[in-house]
């Protein structure tokens, strides 16, 4: 970038900059013109102006210091407007002193617009006298040519009354129009009598105005200022409409974004969380309450986390992450890719259904770099190229969602058919499906992926929209709380479970309600269904009874491990549950192999036999896909670990012979088998260094690592404990086994045992440690639960028993290096 020439090039332009800026605001009719003139008043010194603009041009050159510059700049702007304020308000005959910040229209910032080929982002901007920062909430004009709105605003400002005006109900449109007309009549000369006025708040609540949350602010290439806003909507605009529990000043935050020109901002308002709302006192009329986020596509409510309303600096990033979680918690692994997709989706779709385009938004222009506010990825992160092994490790994590879900297509088809069969017709017939299967067979995953697919079909318009409520029985504080969770998900309102039960009964079971037609079908997914079984099973009864009611439009999908749960329930419940069952059997080894290799597609890190070995092993024991993935991941970790060990001390590996020893001491014998053939190659190549470093990247995870991982996972920990225990404990254990062999009795007393121990010791040249030491050793083993011992009060007559089969002891201590003589007693 050639900054300096441009800078010199731009400074002369500034002189005639104000003139092109005037035609940019054609949409604001004569009412705004006084403000334009006031701008001239407010910028008294042209030199000052130039200085400021130069400063702003400087700030373009140093993007790192951008924010600090911007704030400084803001301070300056404030300084310049301070002396002007009184006479401007005089000129405009404002009677409201509390509205001072709106009155001053020191639009210095506008003049600073420079022709650049880039957008410049700001944290804080003084625009038209108002100070707008990222994270603020603002009123936005509803449409272009909204002259009546502007006038009304004037009216409102003229006859400002107390902040806590009336609590008028949301008005329907005709009344609003009438009001408007009335006011326009009133406008020329303010009468002394009763005057109807509408504050910005009231206009918002009758949806003549909008509010938005500023996500970020930038200056466009043509010098106009824009911001990306996140819309708020009033309860009337949600699918559910205004409900009795909605507060007067309640707004919902949406997931609907729009790029809006700063020109359409009216002024600041304050949208707060309930906690802040209760404390707020001096913000005036423009305070609102926002407790829930509303999904405009899915018409669902989600309570905002407290943290969301935190600091403003990284609000944008926070929101995005949060949103990703809420929408599809991991439909895609890469987060930024997801974000990009979303933007791409947003771009062509244009204005969302909930909000038309705000005043002077983009007029058909689409800019490639619409994604904004992305932070630069630090260089050192980028230049580190992940090795195949590291990528393999990442994809094998249980948390990563695979791109494809092999081996469950049949079940997924069945689930899809079930749901579609229930909701596709005009009338939704309530149904119930019970899914069971052993852990780790993809039950929940299949249902969720089916729901994702259906969601895209809804987007495409082939299926009518529906509600989807996902509940995990394990996450409920008590089974009854499920009513509360369901009700909150359906209506966005929190009530106690008793009240929720009542309301849900009304919604699902009460036939007298006529407004059933608008209710959309509801799909209720209950994971870990068996946890909802209470003593009298009334929770399950209620939930499974609703689908059998006419007009309930409820579809219940229950997931649990137990195959015969319906049979264990009361007959009246299993009768209502119906006969729709779906069994997820344990995976066989081919399926496990396919699952692992589909995850590792494109990553060349595993030998084929290694994968097969792992999957065969798991399939023989449990058929749990989680376990198979864990084993492979652990194997990859082990391999990675050893390769790193290999590369980090190159000196030790350079000498022939030391490497295998080093490996053997670190990891155990099987690794030597693997690397031994490679060692000559490695040492040869290590002479020139660079090739040597390439060699570990090529390493594949082989049988040896998988074997080690399986050992770690399946081998009982007691062997490890026995192997690593003290010398005396080993003797103690061997004595117990010996005793067992001799007497054939599982139980022995401490007295007998100590005799055996002393025999062993004396005949093998060990020193007998004494009774109290022996007793202490026994206690320690008892604490480890290697042996089971009675309470210590009996001392010598304490009964002892091995907790594990004697074979385990024999296996662990047979080839002990320290005490080779132990083997002959085993």
């Amino acid at each position: 970038m050639a900054e300096t020439p441009q800078k010199s090039f731009h400074s002369p332009r500034k002189a005639h900059k104000p003139s092109p800026s005037t035609p940019i605001i054609p949409q604001t009719p004569q009412t705004v013109t006084p403000s334009r003139s006031s701008r001239q008043v407010s910028s008294p010194d042209p030199s000052d102006l130039r200085r400021s603009s130069r400063r702003s041009s400087l700030q373009f050159l140093e993007p790192e210091k951008r924010s600090s510059k911007a704030t400084k700049y803001v301070k300056k702007g404030e300084r310049s407007k301070l002396p002007v304020t009184p006479d401007v308000s005089e000129a405009r005959k404002r009677k409201s002193p509390d509205e001072g910040n709106v009155v001053t229209r020191a639009r210095v910032s506008r003049n600073a617009g420079l022709m650049r080929k880039k957008r410049v982002y700001y944290k804080k901007v003084v625009y038209d006298g108002g100070e707008f920062a990222v994270g603020d909430d603002v009123y936005v004009k509803r449409r272009e040519n909204a002259s009546s709105d502007d006038e009304e605003l004037q009216v409102e400002e003229l006859f400002e009354t107390s902040a806590e005006g009336g609590s008028r109900r949301g008005l329907d449109m005709p009344v609003c129009e009438a009001r408007k007309l009335g006011k326009e009549v009133v406008l020329p000369k303010p009468p002394k009598g009763k005057k109807r006025k509408r504050t910005a708040r009231e206009k918002l609540l009758s949806s003549d105005l909008w509010t938005a949350h500023i996500e970020n602010i930038w200056k466009e290439v043509d010098g106009t200022y824009w911001f990306r806003g996140r819309w708020y909507i009033i309860p009337e605009e949600t699918a559910a409409g205004r409900q009795s529990h909605n507060l007067r000043r309640e707004l919902y935050r949406t997931n609907d974004f729009a790029d809006i020109e700063m020109e359409s901002i009216i002024r600041l308002c304050y949208v707060m969380s309930p906690k802040e709302f209760t404390k707020a006192n001096n913000e005036g009329d423009d305070i609102f309450l926002c407790e829930y986020e509303y999904d405009i596509h899915w018409h669902s409510f989600k309570r905002l986390a407290e943290i969301d309303n935190g600091e403003e600096g990284n609000e944008e990033a926070d929101n995005d992450v949060d949103w990703d979680y809420g929408k599809d918690s991991g439909s895609d692994t890469e987060e930024d890719m997801e974000y990009e997709e979303e933007n791409v989706n947003n771009l062509p779709s244009g204005p969302s259904p909930a909000h038309a385009v705000a005043a002077n938004s983009w007029k058909g222009r689409i800019f490639g770099l619409k994604k904004i506010g992305t932070k630069k990825i630090p260089g050192h992160v980028r230049c580190h190229k992940q090795t195949e092994l590291e990528r393999a490790k990442a994809t094998l994590l249980l948390a990563t969602l695979p791109k494809s879900l092999p081996c469950r297509t049949k079940e997924m088809e069945e689930i899809t058919a079930f749901i579609k069969g229930a909701i596709c017709n005009d009338q939704c017939l309530g149904r119930c499906l019970y899914i069971h299967g052993v852990p780790g067979t993809g039950k929940t995953m299949s249902v969720l992926s089916v729901m994702r697919n259906l969601r895209s079909e809804v987007d495409a318009g082939s299926i009518k929209p529906y509600c989807f409520v996902d509940i995990n029985g394990l996450k409920l504080a008590s089974p009854e709380n499920i009513y509360r969770v369901i009700y909150e998900a359906l209506s966005g309102h929190r009530v106690g479970w008793k009240k929720a039960l009542h309301l849900l009964n009304e919604r699902f079971a009460d036939e007298s309600k006529i407004a059933k037609e608008e209710i959309r079908p509801c799909i209720l997914l209950i994971d870990e269904l068996d946890l909802l079984v209470t003593r009298n099973q009334s929770v399950l009864y209620n939930i499974l009874d609703w689908p059998t009611k006419p007009h309930s439009k409820l579809i219940v999908i229950g997931i649990a491990n137990t195959m015969d749960l319906p049979e264990k329930l009361l007959p009246r419940i299993s009768s209502r549950m119906g006969i729709q069952r779906l069994c997820f059997g344990p995976y066989n080894y081919q399926q496990l192999q396919e699952i692992i290799s589909s995850r590792l597609k494109g990553i060349d890190a595993f030998e084929r036999q290694a994968i097969e070995f792992a999957s065969r092993k798991v399939a023989a024991i449990s058929g749990d896909a989680r376990r198979a993935l864990e084993i492979c991941r652990r194997a990859a970790e082990l391999a990675d670990y050893h390769i790193k060990k290999l590369t980090s001390p190159p000196d030790s590996s350079s000498e022939d012979g030391t490497l295998p020893l080093f490996l053997a001491s670190q990891t155990g014998l099987h690794f030597v088998e693997k690397y031994y053939p490679l060692v000559p190659k490695a040492t040869v190549s290590s002479l020139d260094g660079s090739i040597f470093l390439c060699f570990p990247g090529k390493a594949l995870v082989g049988m040896a690592e998988v074997e080690a991982a399986i050992q770690e996972m399946f081998q009982a920990p007691q062997i490890q404990v026995m192997k690593s225990s003290s010398k005396l404990s080993k003797i103690f254990l061997v004595a117990m086994v010996h005793e067992l062999y001799q007497t054939g009795m599982a139980e022995t007393t401490f007295e007998k045992l100590s005799v055996t121990v002393s025999c062993l010791c004396t005949s093998n040249g060990e020193k007998f440690p004494g009774w109290d030491t022996l007793l202490r050793v026994g206690c320690k083993l008892g604490e480890c639960r290697i042996i089971l011992c009675e309470a210590g009060a009996k001392h010598r007559l304490q009964k002892l028993q091995l907790n594990f089969p004697s074979d385990d002891v024999a296996f662990a201590l047979k080839d002990d290096k320290e005490l080779p003589w132990l083997a002959k007693y085993l």
Binding site: A417, G421, N425, Q427, L429, G430, V438, P439, W497, K498, L501, H502, N505, A509, N536, S538, Y541, N542, D545, P547, T548, K549, P550, H551, S552, N561, T562, M563, D564, E567, L570, P571, R572, S574, S575, R576, G578, I579, Q580, C583, G585, P586, N588, A619, A620, I621, S622, G623, F714, Q715, A716, P717, Q718, N803, F804, P805, D807
Partner: protein
């Protein structure tokens, strides 16, 4: 007769022609010993059956009368004739399919409740008597799930209001409560009280129960004390440890000026005897109406009645009968019969989808089906336009078949070995064992077949998985090793499931 049929078909938007002779013939065949139970409340089955286009049902009636022992030989010819002149059901049409599904859905309330007239009349008579004499009373209806209790109550309730209007009595207040939806058992009294005095705010000093007692024990000053019909569904949810709620509820009907007619509905047949012994001594034991499980004929009749709403035949009569017989034999639960019918429709749908995918294959298959089913021999239908017996058999086997053998066969190898070792352990006549002993036996087997055994921790978690699948029963114990283990499936099942594997055949010898 044909006139009714014409009316019906008109109403359903179907044009029937040339069927004048056939119905007559049919009637002559089937005019047999079906006794229309009570023509008061619903149309006699004969009439409706004859009149409806749903002719195959007639065959069933006849068949069932003949005790259905012989094979469907003679009606076959008749059947094929009928099929030819009937409007065909096209399962490919999604509208027709969904209409069929809706007719068979549990939530669809039929216009008349068939096969429960007797019980309904008894309840009705009881209520009428109560209202006529302005006397309180209690009734208890019991029966297995899915036998139409709640549905009948709903009908009675409606009928009672109509009757009261016609007979010139003051219509009673109606209150139907499902006791599962109460958050607290005492809440039922406040609900009753609320119904009594919708305006008045109850004083906090007296409980709702107290208040109700006061109302019912005093003579009402105004003559217009309305009777109240309380229908309490799932009454057994009111059973508390000291049974006071249930007792108090029934005692309300014994008070001198009580005006409530209490109808309790539940599954337990002896609930009144067990929990209300005191009422017996007061000689105001509730009258008990028992809803028996549906018999095969009743299920059939109900299914037919539901399908009558459709202008086209959906099920082959034999298919319906198979379903009815199977369900009646298993539980007599109407819900089950309905869901079986529904799943049959889904099977047909799936089959249709397949046949669309591979048309040539499906036509071949259709030909094959025709050979196997002599009933359809004379027909030249290439595509499915009726639910056949084989479809129904598939659905029924899906529902009623025990999945144990399949489950055992799909188990991981080690779990199969555990089952084997359990079988071996229990050979000696032992009833149960502990996980520790099971482990010993398991390790022995593993050693004998040279399979490395898994540790005991792993084994106990696998035992839990097996108990989840209903193969083992795992008792409670503080220590994993000491948990009791019993086999929940028959030894023979395991032997059968594993007989294909030589490895296990040796184990189980």
């Amino acid at each position: 007769m044909p006139s009714i049929g014409a009316v019906r078909s008109e109403s359903s938007g179907e044009v029937r022609s040339g069927s004048g002779s056939t119905p007559q013939k049919r009637r002559s065949i089937s005019g047999g010993p079906i006794s229309p139970p009570s023509p008061v409340k619903w149309k006699s089955p004969r009439r409706s059956v004859n009149g409806s286009p749903k002719t195959p049902s007639k065959e069933i009636e006849k068949d069932s009368d003949a005790k259905a022992t012989r094979l469907h030989k003679s009606p076959m010819k008749n059947l094929s004739e009928i099929f030819l002149d009937k409007s065909k059901w096209n399962p490919g049409d999604s509208k027709q399919m969904s209409a069929a599904k809706e007719a068979l859905h549990v939530s669809t309330v039929p216009s008349t409740v068939v096969c429960r007239e007797d019980e309904q009349n008894r309840i009705m008579d009881f209520c009428k008597a109560c209202i006529e004499h302005e006397k309180a009373g209690s009734l208890y209806a019991c029966g297995c799930p899915g036998t139409g209790k709640s549905l009948s109550m709903e009908k009675v309730r409606r009928a009672l209001v109509d009757w009261a209007g016609q007979a010139g009595f003051q219509p009673p207040d109606l209150l139907s409560i499902n006791c599962t939806s109460l958050t607290n058992t005492q809440e039922i009294f406040s609900k009753i009280l609320e119904k009594h005095q919708p305006r008045k705010k109850t004083k906090s000093s007296t409980s709702p129960l107290q208040h109700l007692r006061n109302i019912y024990s005093k003579k009402q000053q105004s003559s217009g004390m309305k009777m109240m019909l309380i229908i309490a569904d799932e009454l057994d949810y009111l059973i508390t440890r000291d049974r006071t709620v249930l007792h108090d509820l029934f005692m309300l009907t014994t008070l001198p000026f009580s005006s409530c007619i209490l109808i309790g509905v539940s599954n337990a047949i002896d609930l009144a005897d067990r929990f209300l012994p005191k009422l017996q001594s007061l000689n105001c034991k509730p009258m008990v109406v028992t809803f028996r499980a549906y018999s095969k004929d009743q299920i059939l009749k109900i299914l037919q009645q539901r399908l009558m709403a459709l202008p086209f035949p959906v099920f082959q009569p034999q298919a319906l009968e198979l379903c009815a017989r199977k369900v009646a034999a298993a539980s007599g639960d109407m819900r089950k019969a309905l869901s079986v019918c529904r799943s049959v429709l889904e099977i047909v749908e799936a089959e249709l989808r397949e046949s669309v995918n591979s048309l040539s294959v499906s036509s071949e298959k259709g030909a094959f089906d025709q050979q196997t089913l002599p009933a359809l021999d004379s027909l030249t239908n290439q595509e499915i336009n009726i639910v056949r017996v084989d479809h129904m058999a598939t659905a029924l086997s899906k529902t009623f078949r025990s999945p144990i053998v399949d489950t055992i066969q799909s188990l991981p190898q080690h779990q199969q070995i555990i089952l084997c070792s359990a079988v071996k352990l229990f050979r000696g006549g032992k009833k149960d064992t502990t996980v520790g002993e099971l482990n010993k036996s398991y390790v022995d087997i593993c050693k004998s077949v040279l399979v490395p055994p898994i540790g005991i921790l792993e084994l106990s978690s696998m035992c839990r998985v097996l108990s989840d699948q209903g193969l083992l029963k795992l008792g409670q114990a503080r220590e994993d090793k000491l948990k009791r283990v019993t086999l929940k499936v028959d030894e023979a099942d395991i032997a059968f499931a594993l007989q294909g594997i030589r490895f296990f055949r040796n184990c189980l010898q």
